[in-house]
Symmetry: none
DNA sequence: TAGCACCTATAGCATTGCTATATGAACTGA
DNA sequence: TCAGTTCATATAGCAATGCTATAGGTGCTA
């Protein structure tokens, strides 16, 4: 139960802290647990890191190095926006793989350390977005785009972490990701005119669906299913209500 | 320095905890500080709330009531998507006004309590999106849209909280907000442009009908018919583009 | 060998969340 | 009116926490 490996105590403390943090399930981790697992006594910890927070900052810094490495460690595809997608997915995956560490990095807020990390993550993404801008693919400043995308990226990751692993639906991530990337990209994005506020009755909706179905040859339903479906639809769309 | 006001101790504890939490600047708040400010001794706290966490949960619950009240307390404009914008702005403002409370609610994660709150916030937004869907203004399921928008909303708010108040640029919020809303909204008539990134009109119509049906208790179909009908409707409205 | 900087251990302090127990107050039924 | 019961608060103290004052090795240089 001790992390001896002839490693220097400083390293053992770092690893012990990281391991306990990762397995704590959100609960607090005591210095006594850490020092015991590291096979070291208390003053050693305070000699090397000054503080419990100092130790945790070191753990976070190490985690951030790993994060940055993950964000850089793929061959650029030549399509900057495609690379942004991969950065997004990497970010989410990092959060899901190391939720506790991620929470300390992006979920917690201590007015000094967090902005530094966030700023670095922003810079990382901005760097990539600069290429997109150079290729004329952005319709906003790269910095603003990076901030916006990263904010959404963090929000999605936090939400995915918060829900039980069995219910996690990564479509939330891809959908939000593509929405953000589309929003900053220079495609011919027409205005968002709300348009006519169509009536909201069941009848109107049913009629619309009916018409759309007739015209589209959807193959989601078998022919017998479709027949019955249309009959019901007709019943609904001719209802007196 | 005491919160006496002839209020019952339970209330004084709640207010003391809320006040200390709001002014702690992220630092830990001890039960002794709370009980002293409330003019009460320790066992009183544990009698009423069982736990330090129990007390904080109560504070969060009260904060959430306030949040929900803020989200409901404006006249519906008749344009659901415009109301969604206001919900977003309310959310951000709540976070900036009470950052510490907000962090406990949305930034922290304790696998039990947080998902409940997030789920409630989701439901709140989904409720509004149902109206948009019923009006044929959505191209995704209201639930998915709500999750996606809320995730981005939280991410933006956290990022704004993290940076010094002087540098806060709310344009990050409006830009991300409009990007998300645009992404989930159906292409406004103006030419129908079927091919583009928008989903087919069948899907839009099916989603609208689904939302309208849920809200209207139509009795044109028997319950068993309705069940099967909804199942098919779901199949259609989640079909790949 | 002596001196020196570095690293670690022994032991203990103040504060933390929490509780076993007891005391008071308010209500209930006779 | 009064004993019994329940609710609410206080006294005092426990175990665990973060942290530290002090002292003891350990290896290097001279």
């Amino acid at each position: 139960m001790s992390l001896d490996g002839q490693l220097p105590p400083k390293m053992r403390l770092l690893r012990a802290a990281a391991e306990l943090l990762a397995n704590s399930g959100g609960a607090a981790v005591s210095t006594r647990q850490i020092t015991q697992l590291a096979g070291v006594t208390a003053p050693t910890l305070y000699h090397h890191f000054g503080d419990k927070e100092g130790l945790f900052d070191a753990v976070v810094a190490a985690g951030f190095e790993e994060y940055v490495a993950g964000e850089r460690d793929f061959a650029p595809s030549g399509q900057p926006l495609e690379d942004i997608r991969r950065m997004w997915d990497n970010h989410v995956q990092f959060g899901l793989n190391q939720p506790e560490l991620y929470l300390v990095m992006f979920g917690n807020i201590r007015p000094e350390s967090r902005p530094a990390i966030v700023a670095d993550a922003e810079a990382l993404m901005e760097e990539m977005l600069n290429k997109a801008a150079a290729a004329g693919q952005l319709n906003v400043q790269p910095r603003e785009a990076a901030r916006s995308i990263l904010a959404a990226n963090v929000g999605v990751t936090l939400m995915l972490i918060a829900e039980p692993a069995s219910e996690r639906n990564l479509e939330l991530s891809t959908m939000t990701r593509d929405a953000m990337i589309f929003a900053v990209s220079a495609e011919p994005a027409s205005g968002t005119a709300p348009g006519d506020t169509g009536k909201s009755s069941v009848v109107v909706a049913a009629i619309a669906l009916n018409a759309a179905l007739q015209a589209s040859h959807s193959d989601q339903l078998s022919s017998s299913e479709l027949k019955l479906f249309l009959e019901w639809l007709h019943r609904i769309s001719t209802s007196p209500a």
